[in-house]
Symmetry: C2
Subunit: 205 residues, 2 copies
Amino acid sequence: MTSSKIEILAKAAECFMEQGFHATSIDDVARRLGSTKGRIYHHYASKTDLFFEVHREGMARLFAAVEPACAVDGDALTVLRAMLRAHARAMLDNHTFENVVAQGVQLHRFGLGPTTDPQRRTLSELIASRDAFEGLFKRQAAAARQAGLLAELDISIAVKTMLGALQWSLFWYRPEADRSPEARDVLAEQMVTTIIEGLRPRAMG
Amino acid sequence: MTSSKIEILAKAAECFMEQGFHATSIDDVARRLGSTKGRIYHHYASKTDLFFEVHREGMARLFAAVEPACAVDGDALTVLRAMLRAHARAMLDNHTFENVVAQGVQLHRFGLGPTTDPQRRTLSELIASRDAFEGLFKRQAAAARQAGLLAELDISIAVKTMLGALQWSLFWYRPEADRSPEARDVLAEQMVTTIIEGLRPRAMG
DNA sequence: GTCTATATGGTGATAGAC
DNA sequence: GTCTATCACCATATAGAC
């Protein structure tokens, strides 16, 4: 990917996050790039394609963050915890792109309106990729539960609840408020601890 | 509020949830009502005003569900749990309206674009109301923690994480899939248990 | 109270200069 | 590879009939 295309993606992600897909005009993105829309249409065939590329990049970053955590040493719960931490951290680090991913999921849920067949296929692939991502956590949670390391919960609901807790940071996290990498680590750890340990105090650590 | 206005609000909420504020045209809402936009503009001055009324109704339903739970008998953690359960249940019951509330928060976060001063004031009030709602949980969590019933967590982060876990149901819950009130009770209870107890098993119930 | 026009402005996408 | 100019379309909102 050329640096020009990446730059366009990043600015487009900002616009899509702030205004949403429909309210973002190609002129908005061009204005933020300091250019005109000719530049954008040279690299991307349509606004929809541009949006999907942002979505794809957001999913790629999630996998890149979580997959290494799947391979850490330790029992099944330790691995799950590492995965959640990586996910939390990735949501904070890639706040803009992941906001667009969430929008893409909604777009798919309710139908995308007038789009071409290839575009529909692309979106379906992206959604399948998201399901696979959630599947990583479900599988790991199931393994942890089988090892007796997890409470007896409905795995599907528990995973949706856990991931939701992390993903809701899309709505309240403000990356612009001078967040150092260390501060993001602390924040991610606090969220994950809340999820894993729950609200009630433990008799023994 | 006349029944005509309520009917318009309900259909508008559906459209706003499915397509988002900007992608929803007044003609879309009118089509879903089986009428024309003349009817809508007779009751609401603008699309923005219509959106805000949906948002307001969504917040009203949240308060109506959670405030009674604030007054239940029991220790501070029992009350908190009742509040979370009521909130979870309300998110499922009012899925459509609460989706619009979440959109309204985003609209406020990034600026609403070209709107009138009264509209900006209305949105600010709605956001203040949402902050007050979150405050109910923060205050209760602080009380529970002071009573030694809560783990030593950052209250603000823990509350955001808890509420996020429940609110993320906006993205995956499908109310159309024949959900009885009992099924929603079970689902709400599963989510709340996951939050309160955490993922790790407890030595003693 | 609801409908049928219609005025007005903005948007996605293209064509062709440079 | 980027810009300017332009077309065709759609949406908000209003005016006025009924």
